[in-house]
């Protein structure tokens, strides 16, 4: 079964600084990978997704993520953080089977942005 680890429960950055949120997955093949963002009192929204292909995926609001099969990772990056990025970020993995497999979510990383 697949699994996801987000090792950092909380990350604090200054506005304008660069950002990396870490995600490690466990699956012997090449999975589908997702990053979702949750703003206060809202549901989760998709930031970006990876289907097998180009390892660097561009998302909304300047976010990108890079898939690494050798490291089993899918880290999220942003060159310059804005205060509006203050939210909780979830990494998820699913198996591209065309069947009934559901995505598995990590526990989330809370991003705090200081002015």
């Amino acid at each position: 079964a697949q699994s996801v680890t987000q090792p950092d429960a909380r990350v604090t950055v200054s506005e304008g600084a660069s950002l990396q949120l870490r995600c490690k997955y466990s699956y012997f093949g090449t999975p589908y990978l997702f990053w979702y963002v949750q703003y206060p009192r809202q549901g989760l929204q998709l930031l970006l997704k990876y289907y097998p292909g180009d390892p660097v995926v561009q998302g909304v609001n300047g976010f990108e993520a890079e898939f690494s099969k050798s490291n089993s990772s899918f880290h999220l990056r942003k060159a310059s953080v804005h205060w509006s990025d203050w939210a909780v970020y979830f990494c998820a993995v699913s198996i591209p089977s065309g069947g009934n497999y559901k995505p598995t979510f990590g526990k989330g990383t809370s991003l705090v942005v200081h002015p």
């Binding site: 589908y32 997702f34 979702y36 009192r41 809202q42 549901g43 989760l44 929204q45 998709l46 997704k49 979830f90 998820a92 699913s94 198996i95 591209p96 089977s97 065309g98 069947g99 009934n100 497999y101 559901k102 995505p103 598995t104 979510f105 526990k107 989330g108």
Partner: protein
Amino acid sequence: NAGVIQTPRHKVTGKGQEATLWCEPISGHSAVFWYRQTIVQGLEFLTYFRNQAPIDDSGMPKERFSAQMPNQSHSTLKIQSTQPQDSAVYLCASSLAGEDTQYFGPGTRLLVL
């Protein structure tokens, strides 16, 4: 496209009462998921339907919780004899297929007094 609709947005019940939460998935989506979110436990998977059939209910507490999807346009999560520990935000999501991108509703915030 109105997105995933969840009603009510807020619900307050007394201990021992029943709570029914509603979810209307995006039209054309075949998969519907229910999650529970708390500060302590984070995001917990509860159950999953595909084409209205229950596929995986491994996250559902065995007592008091039940979920149904009687037609393509809505699903319900029912909690009988609610307890204070059931207080949480219950999120519903839908997707085109089980393993695909999930679209989340805004959630129902349940408070059991």
